[in-house]
Each structure stands twice: as C-alpha cells, then as structure tokens.
C-alpha cells in the first residue's frame, strides 16, 4: 500500500537533509521524541541534531532567522505549527524574505521554505483551522505551493529551494493520514498523470478518456474531495469530470491548465479559503481572458462561507467546502441548474 502523506513529507525532509549539508529545519517542538505536532519531522533530530532545531514560540523570529540563514547562502525549512500562526511571520515574509531576492538591485538567492499545516474539518477551532494561502497571493518574489496526494514532496521541496525564491508550502491537515496515489492509478475508474513542463500539474481523468464535460481545478487539500465528486458524478449522473491539481499555485501556471479547460469549455475552481482576492479568483480571470471564446459557461468558484470557522463538527461542516458544494457547482455549470 502507498505511503501516507505525512510519511512522504517526513521522507522528503530526511532525503533533503541527507543531500544538503547546508539545510536547517526549524520550528516549534520538532525535536524527538515529540517529532512535531503532526509528526512530520519525526526522526529528523535524532539523525541531525545540529540542523533540526526546536525553537521557542517565536514565529516572526524563526522565519526571520531562516531568512538570515538563506541570506548567508544556506537553505532553511521552517515549520509553522498551525498555518494560522504564519500571520505572526507576515512581516518577515512580505517585507524581508520575498523582497530580498531583488530589492538590492541584484539577484540574491533566498532558499527558504515555510511549511504551513492548514485547513479545517478537524475541529481545531477558529484560530487553528484557517487556509491563509490567499493572504500571500501575488507577493512579488514569493511562490506558493500546496501538498497533494499526487506530488512527491521530495521533488516539490527540492524544486522550491532550487528556485532561490522563498516559498510557502501549505499542507492541508486532513491530508496527513491519507495515502499518496502511486503509479498513475486513482481507483478502478480514474487514472492520473503529471503534466506540464515540470510535471507540476496532476491530471485525474477517466481511463483513456480525453474529453470531459467539466474540469475541476483544486489545490492539493481539496484533491480527495474533488476526486470523490468526479467519481460520484460519473457513476450517478454520467457527467465526466477531469480534475487538475497543480502543486505550485503561485505564480500561476496557466499554460498547463488552459488546454484541458478549453477542451471541456467548463471549469469549476474550488478552494477551502473564503472568497475575495484568492488563487481561484486569479485563475478565473486568466481563464476568462484567455479562453473567452472557448467557454461554454462562466468560470465557477467554490469557497468556504464568509465566516469564522467554528469548532463543533456539525457547525464546522456548514462553513467549510464539502463534497456536496463542489458537486452542486459542477452540476450547475454542466446542466445550468
């Protein structure tokens, strides 16, 4: 059976630390035997006690320290315990790390990744369940990625560091215990492949079927929800969906996403954040601009409700994007109802 997403991340960090003696990993409670709040960093400090550091509760400070390591030509990966707290490091990301690559009139590589366990559906409550990715969209010099069950995190993290630009890696917490997909197989109905110049976009489709009624574009955290919807729509409603899951959300790689969207002529973009200045909205405007003639329906966005995220499960469900919201959106786009 394929490994769990948390194991894949853990192995990725092991591999990177082994390969790159200039890499430091830091964050709160990373050190063994605790191994991080979600156990992503388990076993790292035992092997590299000098390069895997538990820090004080100092989100702004540690992202700044990581920025200093990067400035000195080293590499750094920071774990923010819950992505909500990356807000405390916003200044270091917005005004220092992302600017430093260019604001001195010459290129200064900044090999820095900030890992952010994000998202809800786990009952952690209003300050521990948000998807803050949208607050970082469009910052010059900053790249945004999201973990998915299709993308090997070793390649994702190595790729992020290699760009010499700082980046944020969002990790939907519900993914951690999910299994990675492997060998191009999703289930008995769906296959996937990785497309685009750097194989960044996972394309999930019915076996050997090129044409789709609708394309669903989602970040990794929503991949399982989107695949479940595609499956149900196929079996119950005879609607064929293709699901596209980019690993890098920003800068947008529209060139890889547009051809399948153009072929289907219909697209739903779903994300767990609230609406307003989002990745999905940016993608929608690119699709409208570049595919206006090919679209058979307006781009449809799906978001969580404009709301605080409640703790109690029955209330949380009413706020966060669920399968039913995505399914409803696809049906509306496909049949106009």
């Amino acid at each position: 059976m394929a490994e769990r997403v948390v194991e894949n991340l853990n192995q990725a960090l092991h591999g990177l630390l082994a390969d790159d003696p200039a890499l430091t990993v830091l964050g709160e409670d990373l050190v063994d035997p605790y191994g991080g709040a979600f156990k992503v960093t388990r076993g790292l400090s035992a092997r590299w006690p000098d390069r895997v550091l538990s820090t004080p509760l100092s989100e702004g400070g540690i992202v700044g320290v990581a920025g200093g390591l990067a400035l000195a030509g080293q590499s750094a990966i920071v774990e923010i315990m819950f992505s909500d707290f990356v807000a405390l490091a916003f200044d270091q990301i917005l005004n220092f790390a992302s600017k430093s690559t260019a604001m001195y009139g010459r290129r200064v590589p900044m090999r820095l990744v900030v890992r952010c366990p994000s998202g809800g559906n786990r009952g952690y409550g209003p300050t521990h369940s948000q998807s803050p990715l949208k607050h970082f969209v469009g910052i010059p010099g900053l790249s945004l990625h999201e973990v998915s069950p299709f993308h090997d995190n070793r390649a994702v993290l190595a790729g992020m560091l290699a760009t010499g630009r700082p980046g944020l890696l969002f990790e939907d917490k519900v993914l951690y215990t999910n299994r990675m997909y492997a060998d191009g197989v999703v289930d008995e109905l769906f296959r996937y492949d990785l497309i685009g110049p750097d194989a960044d976009v996972a394309r999930v489709r019915v076996d050997e079927e090129e044409q789709a009624d609708c394309v669903l574009v989602v970040p990794g955290g929503l991949a399982a929800r989107a695949v479940a919807v595609a499956r149900e729509l196929l079996l119950r409603d005879d609607i064929v969906c293709q699901v596209l899951v980019p690993s890098r959300l920003w800068p947008l790689d529209a060139d890889t996403l547009l051809p399948p969207i153009a072929r289907a002529g219909r697209v739903v973009v779903a994300e767990e954040s609230t609406a307003g200045g989002t990745w999905g909205a940016e993608l929608a405007q690119v699709v409208h601009r570049r595919l206006w003639g090919a679209l058979r329906a307006p781009v449809r966005l799906v978001h969580s409700a404009d709301s605080v995220i409640p703790t109690a499960a029955h209330l949380e469900r009413t706020v966060l994007v669920q399968d039913t919201d995505i399914r409803q959106a696809v049906k509306e786009v496909v049949s106009g109802d």
Binding site: E28, Y34, A313, H314
Partner: protein, 312 residues
C-alpha cells in the same frame, strides 16, 4: 524588583475550606472526564487540560471581582470554572451541545463571557489586555486586567511590546505566568534564555515568584500583589512554579518517566488526599459524581445552534 516565595512543599498542605476544595476537585474531575472522552473518541478537535495547575485560579478566585477582566489561554478550563463555576456551559461548549457558552463555535480555547476571554494564539491577548487595562485605569480605577500565560509564551514578541506600554503608561495589568517547566514538548531551559524575573526587571516591572502549590499559601502571596496593582495602577508579573501532570493536549506526553514522576510528586491532589483523607474522600467522591452527572446531562443534549444573526 524580584521576590521569591519559596515555601517548600509544606509538610502538610493547609486544610482548605469546603468551597476551595470543591472547586479544585471540580476542575480536576472535569479535566479527567475530558481526557476520558477523548480516549473514547467522543470528542472532536483538541483540548489542553490543566491537571496539576488547578490551584492557581482557585487561589486567585476571591482576589478577583466580577469587574476585573481575565484573559485566559489554551489551558483555560480551570480559569473558566474558577470564575463561573459552570461546568455545564463549558462542557457543552467543548462538545458542541445546547447550552454551550459560545454556541460551540469557540470550543475549548476560544471563549468570551462577561469580562472573561480566551483565545488560541499564544501571546496575542497580552496587548489586548493592556488595552483593556488602559480603559480600566481611565474609567474604573481599582479594577485590573489579568492575563494567564505559560512560560513558553514568553517567546512571543507581543508579550514584550505590551509590557513596555504597560510599564510606560502605568497600566493595571497583571501577568500570571503558570511556569510548568515545559511548552508542549520543549523544556523551559530549551526555550527561555535568562529568566522571567529578569525580563520583567528589564521593563522596570515588579515580579514575584511563588513555588508553593498550596492554595492558601499562593493566595496569601498574591493578595498584596493584586492590592498593589489596583492601588498604584502598575503592571506586575507573578510567576508560579507549577507542574503539568497531564499531557500537553490529548495524549501527547513525550516526557521521560522520571519527569512525569517529578510532576506527579508535586501534584497537590495526592498530597492533599494523604493529609486529610476523610475530608478529601467525601469531597472527591462528591465532585467526581457531580462531573459524571454533568457529562451524562450534556451528552444527552441536542447539538448546539449558531443562529444566523450571531454569525458576525
């Protein structure tokens, strides 16, 4: 100025009034019940219990008035219960049932009721409490704003920004530091340089360190502190050396067995039971049964409702 009260664990703890003992045991059994429910998979999300630290809010209870503000943190059930004696409302909140103090929206660590507030981002509430203290100083002299925080939270910059303003402006802000020697999994020695007393001193803020876990001793030590904060409108840092007997949250205790044994050896509960077995036994049994009743009652309630009008 740093003072230390180093009453070593008294040979025998002070005999407590029934109300204090009941409150201590209510908090203890409430927390045990939560861990039990988590263990059985009946609770969602997470929770941080104050096992071992119950005496802190119980000691402070009679020193606070309804008009004082209390800012709590992630480990706040004891703070809440000592203020409101309302296990039904709190449990309903944690379980998302009817009667929840915040409709089940805030859950274990985001609660607002009257002049009591908790939130889940460490350090965030210290400047907020300073703002409230500024308001109190202007409009209700003699009232204070109390913030509970852990030793680990002294890593956050907001704590220092607030202390600076509180000292400059003479705000009635009392920081009560529950220094349990650990932040989640990280020992204090690995996350705090210098000392909390030294840090308070750097801002010219008075600091008192209390090592006893005896409710009466702690109360006696804190009485003049609160009086001073009220009378002089001045910030104060009280540091209580305490002991986290349970896990950080649900079941995550990676401490070595001897470290856990050390915390247990300082637990007021076992020591009190030993010192006053008859008094203890009666109250312990009563509070245990009461909490079991609360659990049964709240678990039987329908899910909480969050009205559209309350959604902000």
């Amino acid at each position: 100025m740093t003072a230390t009260r180093t009453e070593a664990p008294p040979i025998a703890p002070t005999r407590l009034a029934a109300t204090d003992l009941d409150l201590l045991l209510l908090i203890r059994h409430f927390e045990l019940a939560l861990l039990d429910m988590f263990g059985r998979g009946e609770l969602n999300g997470t929770t941080h219990t104050c096992l071992g630290q119950e005496y802190v809010p119980v000691a402070l209870r009679p020193l606070l008035g309804d008009d004082d503000f209390v800012f709590s943190n992630h480990r706040g059930h004891g703070h809440y219960l000592a203020r409101f004696n309302d296990p039904h409302g709190l449990l309903a909140e944690v379980m998302g049932r009817e009667g929840a103090v915040c409709q089940g929206v805030g859950g274990s660590q985001h609660i607002l009721r009257d002049r009591y507030l908790s939130t889940g981002v460490q350090g965030e509430s210290v400047p907020v409490a300073a703002g409230v203290a500024l308001h109190l100083k202007r409009t209700e002299p003699g009232r204070l704003a109390l913030v509970y925080l852990g030793d680990g939270t002294w890593g956050e910059g907001a704590v220092y920004e607030a202390l600076n303003m509180a000292a400059l402006w003479g705000l009635p802000l009392l920081l009560v530091v529950e220094n349990n020697g650990i932040a989640q999994s990280t020992p204090t020695v690995a996350q705090l340089a210098g000392s909390i007393g030294g840090r308070a001193r750097a801002f010219g803020v008075d600091h008192l360190r209390v090592t006893s876990t005896d409710t009466e001793v702690v109360r006696a030590a804190l009485t003049p502190v609160l009086r001073r904060v009220r009378e002089r409108s001045t910030p104060y840092v009280v540091e209580l050396l305490t002991h986290r007997v349970g896990p950080h949250s649900k079941g995550d205790d990676s401490r070595r067995p001897e470290e856990i044994a050390y915390a247990r050896a300082h637990d007021w509960y076992a020591r009190y039971a030993q010192a006053y077995p008859e008094q203890f036994g009666v109250h312990d049994e009563r509070q245990r049964a009461y909490v079991a009743q609360v659990v049964a009652d709240v678990a039987g309630r329908p899910a909480s409702d969050w009205a559209e009008a309350d959604r902000g």
